[in-house]
Every structure is written in structure tokens, then in C-alpha cells.
């Protein structure tokens, strides 16, 4: 580096510019931006895949694709949306906001942070590469087992499975590094006076998420490694002929897979009270109760995994245990709903876009929670399981809960990040189109499931035709509506009305005391939290 120009730089600007800046950055805000941009890109990639699926399902019969390709699209859609869209979005929020909220200058482990992000693009590339390799006659396409990779179907599968296994390994390493960083930051770098119980709920949601990731991801990594050795090195973990058991894979997978649902949702649950408090101009209700609910959901989330395969022939005591433990999750979840509504109660509400998304989230996520309660019932689950009822249920949880939660956060914090206001008009249009088309897409799927349509079929009997047609029209409207979101974000990054430091009238918390956008190094002098 040129020492003369380096000497001229003051404390703020000693970093490279252009592409090298992004490759080498250790700044939490730059890394947060990269996570969020990557997430937005992959959201559209995963969305395009599922629009292909919905187009095929518009009418009975095989019109557009072979069943083999259909099976690849559904599985890769799920893996992309979960690992490359939702999880990076939440990590992007954590990177941007945790240091601002707890009064820290940056994350505790900045180099690890950079590495954690830069593992994601190669992992996403590995996951999707078999699609392109197949075009050149190498292999038979991407993983076609659904995202659950159940053995022995995945033992039978082509090279797409190997690519998915390695991709999951890399994604897992990235997530574990991110989690270690977040835990280290939260435990060590809070401003003086900010006790754990005074820490903002968003940070609490992430703290529980990070712990869950560190507990469960190694189990998934172990499970897929056993799959790899079954495929290539003659082991029989999942093969009865060699003394193994295919159901073992399901236990290992869902020991990760169920906490994963809360891993995706806890950051959003942490964010909600902040948004509700801001737009009701009233303090958060039940801060302590929400903290303990997060912890309770985290703990319960680790011990209910087998409700994902209740039809696999578990013994009766196991069925009863997993049924009742799953039902008990409704209790801490109900505490959260109670606190959200009590926060709104007797406030002075206004309905800007983040508030609209928060309210939409609460109502639609409520449907996910309530249908989850009936799914826990073993006997009724025999009808719901593997059917479109489940597909609808988890899209209410992960689109309306996860993705709309992320959008709440983006609209809420975007002015703080960019220093500009987004277009409120476009934001509201985006909200209404999203909510309406979302329900058009997924509400019919509940009825399809009840009528008996199984998941993951490329073609279906004639009695399912009408609901499928509605669902497909809804899905295309939903997908296209998200272009408004991308445009609105892009416009806001480019310019727009100046945002004030507090951005919203009713904000509380350290993050709103910094300028919008915040300085390159967030808190150079530690703020002090007053007692009481």
C-alpha cells in the first residue's frame, strides 16, 4: 500500500476500495450488507425454481418437465430458501444490528465474520452446479430427494446428492462460525450497565438461535457424512441388510431439522416487539417473559423432533411423548402472542410499512401455530402427514413467519442503514400484494391436503385441479410482487428523502442514537446504560 496516501488517511478510511473492499472487509456493516444482498439474490433464485414447479402443477398432466427434474426443483428450492435466503438474511440483521444495539464498535471476531460470509457463495454454487453440469452431460442433475435427503433414496441418488452433502457441510461451517461470533459479541461486548436481562429482545432471539445452531448443526453434518460413507465407502448406517436402519437418518436429520424452524424464526420473534413498540409508541410488554419464552422454545425445540415422522411406525410410548411435548410448545408461543398484543393494547398506533408487515406476520403466523397444534396429534397427523396440508402449514410458518418477518426488519431498519427513506407507497403496495397473493397460494393447499393430495408429486388426480390452478396463479402473483420489494430497496439505497437519526417517532434503544447511516465504526466510545 502507498504509505504516503496511507498517512493522509484518517482513522475512518483505511480500507481498500472496489471489489477488494468487499472481499477483505471485516466491518460488521459491510458484511451485514453482503449477507442481505446475497439473501435477496438467492430468494429470487429459489423463487424462480418453485414457480417452475407451480407452473407444472397448474393443470393435471405432465406439461413442462419430467418428474426427475421436478423432484430436483422442489428439493433445491427448499435448501436454497432455508440455507441461502432465510438464514443469511437473519445473519445479515445480526451483523448490522447487534453491535449497534449493544453499544459495541464491531463484532467480536471480525475476520471469522468475513470468512463466514465468503463460504456462502461457493456453497450455493455447489448446490446448484449439478443443474448446469447435467446440461453438459455430466451426472443427472441436482439432488432429487427433497431437502430431507431421506435414506435410502439419497443412497440411490446421483452426483447431485454428493454436491448437496458438501454444500451442507460448508453452509454448516459458515453458520457455526457466525454463531460463535454472535455469542462472543453478545456475552463480551455489551455496553456497561446493559445486563443480559436488559439486553434488547432481538439480541436475545439471536443468542438462543446461535446456541441452537451450535448444538444441532454438527448432528446434521454427522448424518450427511454417514450418508456419504454409505454411498461411497461401503458402510451400512442406513441399510438394514448391513445392520443399519433407514429411520436412523430421519432421527439425525430432524434433530437438526426441527430446531432449524426456530433457528429461522427466533430472530424474527426477537425483532417483532421492537417494531410493535415503535409504531404503538409504547414500551415492550413482558420483556422478561419473552426472554424466558425464547429459552423455553429453544429447549423444547430440541426434544420434539420425531413429530416429523409420526407415520414411520414409532412405538406407542414414543408417539405419546412426541405428541404431548410438541403440544407444549404452544404454551411459550402463546406467551409471545400475548405479549405482542399486550404491547399494542392502549398504544397510539400508526401503520407504516414495517408495522403492516408485523401485523400481517402475527395473523398469518398465528395460522401456522394453530395448524401446528393439530398436526401434533398423532391420529389426525396420519391424515395430514406427507400431504399438502403440511406444505401449507410450514409455508405459513416460514413464508409468512420467516420471510415476511425479514421484510418487516428490512423496512424497519433500511432508513437507518442507508440514511434514506424508502417509498412508503411502494412499501404498502408490496405489503398488500404479498398478503393477498400469499393466501391465494397457500390457503387452497390446506384443502388439497385434506382432500388427500400427497406432497412432492408432479402430476395429480383430477379432483385436485381447481385448487392447484388457484394456487399457481397466487404463486406467480406472489413472486412478481417481490420485484416491487427489490426495486424499493434498490431505490432507497440509491437515494431518497433523508432519514433522521431516530427514523421513526416511537423508537427506543441505542441503535437510534447513532446517525443514519451510522459511522464506519459504530460505537467508538462505549455508551453507558443507566441503572433502572
Amino acid at each position: 500500500m502507498n504509505t504516503a496516501s496511507h498517512a493522509l488517511d484518517h482513522h475512518d478510511g483505511h480500507h481498500p476500495t472496489g471489489l477488494l473492499r468487499w472481499l477483505t472487509t471485516t466491518n460488521h456493516k459491510d458484511i451485514g450488507t453482503m449477507y442481505l444482498s446475497f439473501s435477496l439474490l438467492m430468494f429470487f433464485v429459489g423463487g424462480a425454481m418453485i414457480l417452475g414447479v407451480r407452473a407444472e402443477l397448474f393443470q393435471p398432466g405432465l406439461q413442462l418437465m419430467k418428474p426427475e427434474f421436478f423432484n430436483q426443483l422442489i428439493g433445491v428450492h427448499a435448501l436454497v430458501m432455508i440455507f441461502a435466503a432465510l438464514m443469511p438474511a437473519a445473519t445479515g440483521f445480526a451483523n448490522w444490528m447487534i453491535p449497534l444495539m449493544i453499544g459495541a464498535p464491531d463484532m467480536a471476531l471480525p475476520r471469522l465474520n468475513n470468512w463466514g460470509f465468503w463460504l456462502l457463495p461457493p456453497a450455493a454454487l455447489l448446490l446448484t452446479m449439478p443443474f448446469f453440469l447435467a446440461l453438459f452431460g455430466i451426472g443427472d442433475g441436482a439432488v432429487a430427494t427433497g431437502w430431507t435427503l431421506y435414506a435410502p433414496l439419497s443412497v440411490q441418488g446421483g452426483i447431485g446428492v454428493d454436491f448437496a452433502i458438501f454444500s451442507i457441510h460448508i453452509l454448516g461451517i459458515s453458520s457455526i462460525m457466525g454463531s460463535i461470533n454472535i455469542i462472543a459479541t453478545i456475552l463480551n461486548m455489551r455496553a456497561p450497565g446493559m445486563t443480559l436481562m436488559k439486553m434488547p429482545l432481538f439480541c436475545w432471539g439471536w443468542l438462543v438461535t446461535a446456541v441452537l445452531l451450535i448444538i444441532t448443526l454438527p448432528v446434521l453434518a454427522g448424518g450427511v457424512t454417514m450418508l456419504l460413507t454409505d454411498r461411497h465407502f461401503g458402510t451400512h448406517f442406513f441399510n438394514a441388510a448391513g445392520g443399519g436402519d433407514p429411520i436412523l437418518f430421519q432421527h439425525l436429520f430432524w434433530f437438526f431439522g426441527h430446531p432449524e424452524v426456530y433457528i429461522l424464526l427466533l430472530p424474527v420473534w426477537g425483532l417483532m416487539p421492537h417494531v410493535l413498540s415503535t409504531f404503538t409508541r409504547k414500551p415492550i410488554y413482558g420483556h422478561t417473559a419473552q426472554v424466558w419464552s425464547f429459552v423455553a422454545i429453544g429447549v423444547l425445540g430440541l426434544i420434539v423432533w420425531a413429530h416429523h415422522f409420526l407415520t414411520s411406525g414409532l412405538p406407542v410410548p414414543a408417539l405419546l411423548y412426541f405428541m404431548y411435548s410438541t403440544m407444549s410448545i404452544s404454551l411459550p408461543l402463546a406467551v409471545l402472542f400475548f405479549c405482542w398484543i399486550a404491547t399494542m393494547w392502549r398504544g397510539a398506533m400508526s401503520f407504516e410499512t414495517p408495522m403492516l408487515f408485523a401485523l400481517g406476520f402475527i395473523v398469518l403466523f398465528g395460522i401456522a401455530g394453530l395448524t401446528g397444534l393439530v398436526l401434533a396429534d398423532v391420529a389426525a397427523d396420519a391424515q395430514y402427514h406427507h400431504s399438502y396440508f403440511v406444505v401449507a402449514h410450514f409455508h405459513y410458518a416460514l413464508f409468512a413467519g420467516g420471510i415476511m418477518g425479514v421484510m418487516t426488519g428490512v423496512y424497519y431498519w433500511l432508513p437507518k442503514w442507508t440514511g434514506h427513506m424508502y417509498s412508503e407507497k411502494l412499501g404498502k403496495l408490496h405489503f398488500w400484494l404479498t398478503v393477498i397473493s400469499f393466501n391465494f397460494t397457500f390457503m387452497p393447499q390446506f384443502f388439497l391436503g385434506l382432500a388427500g393430495m400427497p406432497r412432492r408429486i408432479p402430476d395429480y388426480a383430477l379432483q385436485f385441479a381447481e385448487f392447484n390452478a388457484i394456487s399457481t396463479v397466487g404463486a406467480f402473483a406472489l413472486g412478481l410482487s417481490q420485484l416491487i420489494f427489490a426495486y424499493n430497496v434498490w431505490r432507497c439505497v440509491k437515494g431518497g428523502d433523508k432519514a433522521t437519526d431516530r427514523v421513526w417517532e416511537g423508537t427506543e434503544g441505542l441503535e437510534w442514537e447513532l446517525s443514519s447511516p451510522p459511522p464506519h465504526h459504530s460505537w467508538e466510545t462505549q455508551p453507558v446504560i443507566k441503572a433502572g
Binding site: Q156, A241, R281, I341, M344, A382, L462, I484
Partner: protein, 391 residues
């Protein structure tokens, strides 16, 4: 963009409305489970209905409070925000704990108790079982076996390819029709044992309220007592590879007398088939029966043309294995030969050990057919009796 967006929104909404309106005018929408015909099915439906009412009430009550708050506590009508952030005093604590207590009651009493009894009932497969049916899932068909009478056969989809590809109008039972349905007597408790030869499949008939996984190398069980004669249709419910959507379950429930007659007829048929395995077949007989068996069992993967779908499903046309030697000079099985592959399958692939599912005549015919079709001109043939000797 910001000006065209509202117009676009209006158009999209109009389009959505149109689809919904025309759909509901034409279609017969099903909003709930199909009519149950077993005790478990009825139980499940009534439990489901009860739960749906409970969660609908919960939904309406909770969100009515929220919507009321959104209307009454608006800034635009000059609402002043309160400052409370938690319950204060005994009365407020009481009202906070009441919803919690209600939910506890709903979870573990109102829903929990009927659910407990339903589970116990559903899993009681053995008490007073009248007969056993063994179901074996395999890519992508079902095999049904009646251990009491020794009947065993395969059931595959009969919907023609042309209907699936849209070249012909789709029939009434599109994708839900098979060549050999399971036949079961009405009013008998049937214990169903399930397993699989390759990957995990799930046997599901919605009207029975029964869904159970078929797991390779293990036996799982469930039971049905069908109360009304009729034809009941379902599907495989676990993703099991490319033709997962094309392996329906069709059950024909008949009065007991009719069932007994069916068993007798089936036994006679099987005896005839077994006898045919002992005689010497002509080449034409083997080729004709071989084509029939191939199209039904093998063509899903290796294709009717024998070209396969490489690399997962290799071509038989010009295949080294198919064009290799038939048997060793002393009439023994050659490892990894054509006969070995067809009889014993290949571990870790979709190629099954067909000796467990096909008869001697079927195997001999299909092997002969493959060696003399798709451009393969081995010219040799194998007799059912030779297969029998190799078992």
C-alpha cells in the same frame, strides 16, 4: 414504476378474482377429508372437525382483540399511548394467567385426551385381527400378499402414457387406477404389514384414515376394518424417486362371500401359473409374455425402447451385461451376469431383486425378451424350469 404499479395491482386482483369465481362455479371443491369408511377414519375425522373448531375459535377471539386494538388505539384518532410494560397487581396477573390456563386445558385435556385414545386404538393392530395382508412397496408399484392363502401379486398404474402427456383426454380415475387392486372383505379387521424392497414408501388411503411408511428391511403395521363395500383410492405419500406420483393404491372392499370366491379364483390362477413354470415354453411364448412383463415392470426405468435414462437407469439396448453369456456351461449362475442382475438386483441402485416378486415364467420370459429385443440379437433363451433351479 410507482405510477404503473397501482394499475398493475388492479389488473392482478381482477385476474385472481376471475380465476376464483370461475373455479367455484365449475368445480366441486372438497373442503374436508373424504368420507371415512373405517372406525379409525371416522374417529380421525371427528377429532379433526373438533380441533378445527377449537383453533378457529382461538383464532377469532385472539385476533378480534387485536383488531379492536388496531381500531380503538390509533394515533390518527388521537389515542394517547399508555406506559405499562407488564402486569401489575394481583388482578392483572390473574388476567395474564387465565389465557395460559385455558391453553393448558385445551392442549392436554380437550385435545390431549381424545388424541390419547385415538393413538391407542390406531396402534392396536393385533387384538381380534381376522386376517393379515402384507404390503410391499417397490419402485414404483405395490405388491400385495395374503399369507393365509398364499396369494401374491403386483399392482401397477394403468393410466396410459398418452393421458399423462396430454395426448388423450384424461379418464375419470386419472392416476388412481391399477391393474390388480387389493381385494379385502368388508367388516373384518385386517392387520396390514408393510415393508419395502428399495426405498421408503408410504401406503395411504385417505378414506381409511390410515397412513404408514413401508421401510426396507423392517416390518411396520397398521390395521383397517372397512365398513362399506366400494372402491377406495389412495397414493404413495413418501417421495420415492421419479415415479412417486404414479404408484396409486386401489382397494376393492367386497362382502365376505364375494371375497371367498375371489380367493378361490385367484388360487386357481396361481396354480395354473405355477404349473406353466414346469413345462417347456416355445420361444414365441417367452417373447410374448416377456414383452408384457417388461412393459409392466421394467419399462418405467429402462423405457419401452430399452434405451433407459442414463446414468441412473442404464440402456439395455447394446448393454454389455444383457449381451453377455447366459449361464455357465454347467448351468450355474454367473456373478454380475444378465440373469444375476434380474434375479438378485444391484445393491445401492433402483435395480431390485426381482426373484422375490416375479414368477419363474415371468423371469424367464423377460430375460429372453431383453436378450432378443431393442437391437440385441443373442438368439438364446432360458426356460422357467432353469430359473427355478437357480433359486
Amino acid at each position: 414504476m410507482s405510477q404503473t404499479a397501482p394499475r398493475l395491482q388492479a389488473r392482478l386482483l381482477a385476474a385472481l378474482g376471475l380465476v376464483f369465481a370461475s373455479g367455484s362455479a365449475l368445480a366441486d371443491f372438497t373442503w374436508n377429508f373424504p368420507k371415512p369408511v373405517t372406525p379409525i377414519g371416522r374417529d380421525t375425522l371427528s377429532m379433526h372437525n373438533q380441533f378445527m373448531i377449537i383453533i378457529t375459535v382461538l383464532f377469532v377471539v385472539v385476533f378480534a382483540i387485536m383488531v379492536y386494538s388496531m381500531i380503538a388505539h390509533r394515533k390518527s384518532i388521537g389515542a394517547e399511548p399508555a406506559r405499562f410494560s407488564g402486569p401489575r397487581g394481583a388482578l392483572q396477573w390473574f388476567w395474564v394467567l387465565v389465557p395460559f390456563a385455558i391453553l393448558l386445558f385445551i392442549d392436554f385435556v380437550l385435545m390431549g385426551i381424545p388424541a390419547f385414545h385415538a393413538v391407542i386404538d390406531m396402534e392396536d393392530t393385533r387384538t381380534k385381527a381376522d386376517m393379515v395382508l402384507k404390503v410391499t412397496g417397490m419402485q414404483w408399484k405395490w405388491q400385495y400378499e395374503y399369507p393365509d392363502s398364499g396369494i401374491k401379486y403386483i399392482s401397477t398404474l394403468t393410466t396410459p402414457r398418452e393421458q399423462i402427456e396430454g395426448k388423450e383426454a384424461k379418464g375419470e380415475h386419472y392416476l388412481l387406477e391399477v391393474d390388480n387392486p387389493v381385494v379385502l372383505p368388508v367388516g373384518k379387521k385386517v392387520r396390514i404389514l408393510l415393508t419395502s424392497t428399495d426405498v421408503i414408501h408410504t401406503w395411504w388411503v385417505p378414506q381409511f384414515g390410515v397412513k404408514r411408511d413401508a421401510i426396507p428391511g423392517f416390518l411396520r403395521e397398521t390395521w383397517v376394518r372397512i365398513e362399506e363395500p366400494g372402491i377406495y383410492r389412495g397414493q404413495c405419500a413418501e417421495l420415492c424417486g421419479k415415479d412417486h406420483g404414479f404408484m396409486p393404491v386401489v382397494v376393492k372392499a367386497v362382502p365376505e362371500a364375494e371375497y371367498v370366491a375371489w380367493v378361490d379364483k385367484k388360487k386357481t390362477e396361481l396354480a395354473a401359473a405355477a404349473a406353466s413354470g414346469d413345462r417347456t415354453w416355445t420361444r414365441d411364448e417367452l417373447m410374448a409374455h416377456g414383452k408384457e412383463t417388461y412393459d409392466k415392470i421394467c419399462a418405467a426405468c429402462h423405457q419401452a425402447t430399452g434405451q433407459g435414462l442414463p446414468p441412473a437407469f442404464p440402456a439395455l439396448a447394446g448393454s454389455k451385461i444383457v449381451n453377455g453369456p447366459l449361464l455357465s456351461p454347467d448351468g450355474k449362475l454367473i456373478p454380475d451376469s444378465h440373469v444375476d442382475r434380474v434375479m438378485n438386483g444391484k445393491a445401492g441402485t433402483a435395480m431390485q431383486a426381482f426373484k422375490t416378486t416375479l414368477s419363474d415364467a415371468d423371469l424367464a420370459a423377460v430375460i429372453t425378451y431383453e436378450r432378443n429385443s431393442f437391437g440385441n440379437t443373442k438368439g438364446d433363451m432360458i426356460q422357467p424350469a432353469q430359473i427355478k433351479a437357480l433359486r
